[in-house]
């Protein structure tokens, strides 16, 4: 009789453990790529401040080429003091939004305080005489509770993410277009102005009657400065490319709302994630 009861209990624990494992597996979400996409985007978002500072520095440098020979009107560099805080706010709104998507999509709930994992150990600590069977029961119960919570969280996350992505898609398209077409383009214009004003200066300051070594040094300095400005311009273009990737990726998420699956998200987002990572590295090395 005792043997039958024991067998029944073991079977019961096996079923509970198997159910917990099954639920845990089914509870996995398909949104890992969204989290990776958000992380890669953050690296790009953090470069904006340095670019904005770089544009102001470029503006001041452009004005340093004004002299009696290169007598041209100065650029209005104070404009950056007025506009940069607003531009940073727009950039932060976009990348904070992307970060919140990534946090909500995160598969890993281990950082969410739960206390499930410690229950069995806590019981043992509280009652050193607790039977192995009761400890196993506690482990199975806490595993099941964790799995059920994860399943609920998975469904809830998908539902909320889907709604948020749908509601925000127009905003993301508009803000990325603004940051690329107006903010980053303004930076590019300033780098172009620096480049042309220095070209004008270098051209006017070279003189056939000047000492050859001085002429050579000036030419080398002008060429080196031009190369540096080109690097900065290329970095701003990388930022614009990254914004385009973000806009397109968000659009794909929006188009497939309700039908997200790991394979499709991987296909749609992984190339963009790689581009974003490379773009952030290029921008960081230029500023």
């Amino acid at each position: 009789m005792r043997s039958i009861v024991l067998t029944r209990r073991i079977r019961h624990y096996v079923i509970v453990c198997a159910a917990a494992s099954f639920l845990a597996v089914c509870g996995c979400t398909d949104l890992g790529e969204v989290t990776q996409f958000a992380k890669a985007s953050q690296d790009v978002g953090k470069t904006f401040s340095a670019m904005a500072d770089g544009a102001k520095t470029s503006c001041n440098r452009a004005n340093s080429f004004i002299n009696a020979e290169n007598n041209i009107p100065p650029l209005n560099c104070e404009f950056y003091d007025q506009v940069n805080p607003s531009l940073l706010k727009v950039n932060d709104a976009l990348f904070n939004y992307i970060a919140s998507l990534g946090a909500l999509a995160a598969d890993d709930l281990s950082k969410v305080p739960g206390g499930f994992d410690n229950l069995s150990a806590d019981l043992k600590k509280a009652d050193p005489n607790i039977s192995t069977a009761n400890q196993t029961k506690a482990t199975a119960a806490s595993g099941l509770a964790k799995a059920i919570t994860n399943i609920w969280a998975s469904g809830y996350r998908k539902e909320k993410l889907s709604k948020i992505v749908g509601d925000s898609n127009n905003g993301v398209q508009e803000v990325t277009a603004f940051l690329s077409d107006y903010a980053a383009d303004k930076f590019l214009q300033t780098f172009n102005e620096e480049e042309r004003r220095e070209l004008s200066y270098c051209d006017l300051m070279k003189s056939p009657t000047a000492e050859p070594l001085a002429t050579d040094l000036l030419a080398r300095k002008c060429a080196a400065d031009k190369a540096h400005i080109e690097t900065q311009k290329a970095a701003v273009k990388k930022y614009q490319d990254a914004l385009k990737t973000i806009a397109e990726s968000h659009n794909k998420l929006n188009e497939q709302r309700g039908n997200w699956n790991a394979a499709q998200l991987s296909k749609d987002l992984i190339p963009g994630i790689v581009d974003l990572g490379n773009g952030a590295v290029s921008i960081n090395s230029a500023f």
């Binding site: 953090k46 904006f48 020979e69 976009l94 206390g115 019981l123 509770a145 948020i164 803000v175």
Partner: protein
């Protein structure tokens, strides 16, 4: 007539192109130009460049006003996402408390030395955890320290 930000931006591009053309003409023909002609071309180049800059600044200011509602939308969406994450944490904490309470119930029905106190401690810990700050707050895109 009211120029749109896009009109102003396109005009700025035209002025920038003209500034480039004038500068390139001066640089490419420097040996044949008189000093007076060079000075005139330099002044013209500077004026075109500055006007392009002013037009671009006006375009950016106008576009900033236009984008304001989209920025507010994204800020609201960020708030929604954070609230959803908080809800997940709250539910998980509630279930944690329920599991701990079950442990306490078992201890009450099958008392052994220390089991009630220990299970009660588990329940208290679960409630304390539930009251801690929710995890997963998305960190802001902090500006890079320059």
């Amino acid at each position: 007539m009211q120029w749109s930000p896009l009109d102003l931006k396109n005009l700025a591009a035209v002025y920038d192109d003209m500034a480039d053309q004038v500068l390139n003409f001066r640089v490419n023909n420097g040996s044949t130009l008189s000093q007076t002609q060079k000075n005139q071309l330099t002044q013209l180049f500077g004026q075109l460049d500055s006007q392009g800059e002013q037009l671009e600044n006006e375009a950016l200011k106008g576009a900033l006003v236009d984008i304001d509602s989209a920025v507010v939308d994204l800020q609201n969406a960020t708030h929604d996402a954070k609230s959803a994450l908080k809800t997940i944490t709250t539910v998980q904490n509630a279930i944690s408390i329920a599991v701990a309470a079950v442990g306490l119930g078992t201890a009450l029905l099958n008392p052994t030395p220390g089991s009630i106190a220990g299970s009660l401690d588990t329940l208290v810990q679960a409630i304390k955890t539930a009251n801690t700050k929710p995890a997963g707050d998305a960190s802001a895109a902090a500006p890079k320290a320059s």
